[in-house]
Amino acid sequence: MKVNVTLLTPFKKIKEKREIRLELENGETFYDLIEKLSQEHGDDFKNNLFESDKKIKTSIMIMVNGRTITDEKNLFQRKLKENEEYVFCAAIGGG
């Protein structure tokens, strides 16, 4: 199964790409996705995403198929689905 991941500010690109397609096993969860991204991306990804206690930083926003996810608890257990779009970006409002 493949999902699409886009890394925007403050995350750095992976291999010079903002958008990547990742292969995962059926039944894998959002948590597995994060593990996989961390492997590819190293500590930088994790440091940008997590507070020291593995809570997602309030300065970060995650969107799934255009929807902002605020329910962190369920997010980690969320089963990935084929062709879903995951976006990691900054929680910034205003203009």
Partner: protein, 615 residues
């Protein structure tokens, strides 16, 4: 004046008779209207009767600071200009930053009220307690940047602060802005046009007095921490800047493109904040007493637009980029520079040009109508040429566009009003109605026309805290509470980018306590916010506004958006009506008319307003 932070004085200047009066700020104003837009709305209410044309000498424009300006409180060097808007006919105001607000306060004034019309182009120089109305005919046609430089030179002081208009204001472009510190603007509602109508080119200020606060020692302690917070991790405004929202909005499919016909933009990467930061930003500037520093200045080093300098935030980048189908950062920077120097609001300019582009692509305008411009979406050169013509009011077509999208569409006919993306005449900001419907409601109830900064209700959609594709009667509360809250912020006046450093609103009330000496809770400030907003609404009612004007352009109800994320996204009229009902009910206004009820006004101690609007 019992409360500290204020000077307790303002200037009342009549340009017709060249009369300058020093007035005492009424004692009850601080406790009822806070400052900033609160004082401005009250001034308009007291001075602009029914039927006054916004461009007549009878319109009154006033400039105000709040109690925090000139103190050590971070992000507080703000000022506002308030008048009847020539673009909407409603109350109109905008807020700008820089150094001007603090300087005015140090000159000894909480505000300046300007009435009448000068017999020739003039500027006002406030030098502490010496106030002069001076000839500005030598500044005719000068850009805002030139005006600032010339005045500093001629007054022989580089640190004088100047708020001025460019040729757009002089020539009465209805969305002309007022500019200070070159890149800071009172952009919305055409306040620069009101200045132009009064032959009033600039307000220059030098202030050397101190501003007194109630508890300096404790304030200093608080301020130290706030400065640290300004540099905190969440403060993207300073590091990356708001332009990083381009890619985020594109991914969420809420990036209004080609005059709101699409919600994603193929060229988004080319005009992304990320690319801008990497390749174009050369300077980041802060306002007085601000450690956030959010002003990102692009310098174009090579190519066609070599030498262009422009300060760009998300809204400007969007309006002159994706909205017009333009995917070139150099061109957007050039367009922004033209708006800033000729003196037009970037949002209104972009939305009006985008409307004209859609008309052109639909064959409603031919090359002959556009005075030779091929106005297809994405034609950056044509956009730039048109913006220059609008600012200088050259040619019939650009002149028409200088009236704003609503009047231009009414003149053009052929149902083009359906896609003139404005409410009450004010061109809308970047939060698209059909896919961010709580935001849409906030844009529609907004007393100054379609603007996101008066309630911030789009944030519920941005976070998907509500179903952003539908509406119901519960959304009105979200909008109204946001309006009251933002009214407090705009009256204090505190920069909106500071919201993350005051997550606990009681902190703001505490700062109020330390600065003014009045011990109150944030709820007390909110009550004042509600009173101010309601008085602004009454001003609109006095000038003929009812529920009827709280509707979106037809496109929002009739043309569903479909793409990989949005499915048949459209605002349903029955839901819209329910949402409006919910808003008025929560506000205790009459549902049928959208007008505040007598008992509501009485509760807010606005009995005279009730009498005046006949409820």
């Amino acid at each position: 004046m019992e409360l500290k932070g204020y000077t307790g004085k303002y200037l009342d200047i009549d340009l017709t008779n060249k009369e300058v009066k020093l007035k005492e700020l009424p004692e009850d104003w601080a406790k009822n209207y806070i400052g900033g837009i609160g004082f401005g709305i009250k001034t308009c209410w007291d001075n602009i009767p029914k039927d006054v044309d916004a461009l007549s000498p009878e319109n009154v424009i006033s400039f105000w600071t709040g109690p925090f300006a000139g103190t050590l409180v971070p992000v507080s060097s703000k000022y506002t200009a308030v008048a009847k808007s020539p673009l909407t006919g409603t109350i109109g105001f905008g807020i700008s930053s820089g150094y001007f607000g603090a300087e005015l306060k140090r000159a000894g004034y909480d505000g300046v009220v300007i009435r009448g019309k000068a017999d020739k182009l003039s500027y006002i120089f406030i030098d502490d307690d010496v106030v002069q109305i001076k000839d500005a005919t030598h500044l005719t046609g000068k850009t805002t940047w030139e005006t600032e430089d010339i005045l500093k030179q001629e007054l022989e002081d580089k640190s004088i602060r100047v708020a001025s208009i460019g040729s757009a204001g002089e020539k009465l472009v209805r969305y002309a802005c007022i500019t200070n510190a070159k890149n800071r603007h009172i952009g919305r509602n055409g306040l620069g046009c009101v200045m132009g109508s009064k032959n009033f080119k600039a307000l220059a200020v030098r202030g050397t007095n101190e501003v007194v606060v109630d508890d300096l020692k404790t304030l200093l302690k608080e301020v130290k921490q706030l400065y640290k917070d300004c540099r905190g991790e969440k403060m993207y405004y300073g590091r990356e800047g708001t332009p990083i929202k381009i890619l985020k909005h594109d991914k969420k499919a809420v990036l209004a493109t080609n005059n709101f016909q699409k919600m994603t933009f193929d060229g988004a990467e080319n005009v992304s904040g990320e690319k801008m930061m990497e390749e174009k930003v050369r300077k980041i500037i802060a306002c007085e007493m601000c450690a956030v520093a959010c002003d990102h200045v692009n310098v174009i080093k090579k190519g066609k637009y070599k030498g262009t300098v422009g300060s760009i935030d998300f809204e400007s980048l969007w309006a002159l980029g994706p909205l017009c189908g333009v995917d070139c950062l150099d061109a957007v920077t050039k367009a922004v520079q033209l708006c800033d120097t000729l003196g037009t609001d970037t949002i209104s300019t972009g939305v009006t040009v985008a409307w004209a582009m859609e008309c052109y692509e639909k064959g409603i305008f031919t090359k002959q109508d556009t005075d030779g411009l091929e106005l297809n979406f994405g034609n950056a050169d044509a956009m730039i040429e048109l913006i220059e013509r609008i600012g200088n009011r050259e040619g019939e077509f650009a002149k028409m566009l200088g009236e704003g999208s609503k009047l231009a569409a009414q003149k053009t006919g052929k149902d083009t009003i359906n896609f003139a993306m404005q409410i009450k005449g004010l061109e809308t900001s970047a939060y698209p109605f059909r896919v961010m419907q709580t935001g849409a409601l906030g844009h529609a109830t907004c007393i100054t026309g379609a603007f996101y900064q008066r309630s911030g209700s789009y944030q519920y959609d941005e976070k998907d805290a509500v179903d952003r594709y539908s509406l119901d009667d519960s959304r009105g509360k979200l909008v109204a509470d946001g309006e009251d809250d933002y009214t407090v912020v705009d009256s204090l006046i505190i920069c909106k980018f500071s919201r993350r450093i005051y997550p606990d609103k009681e902190k703001l009330a505490y700062l109020w306590n330390l600065v003014t000496g009045e011990k109150i809770k944030y709820q007390d400030l909110l009550d004042r916010g509600k009173k101010i907003y309601t008085l602004g609404k009454c001003f609109n009612v006095r000038h003929g506004f009812t529920r009827q004007q709280d509707y979106l352009p037809k496109r929002a109800y009739e043309e569903p958006i479909n793409d990989h994320i949005n499915k048949e996204a459209v605002v349903k009229m029955d839901e819209w009506d329910k949402a409006l009902d919910g808003y008025y009910e929560y506000r205790k206004w009459d549902k049928k008319t959208g007008i505040p009820k007598k008992e509501t006004l009485k509760e807010l101690d606005l009995d005279d307003a009730a009498e005046e609007i006949g409820v």
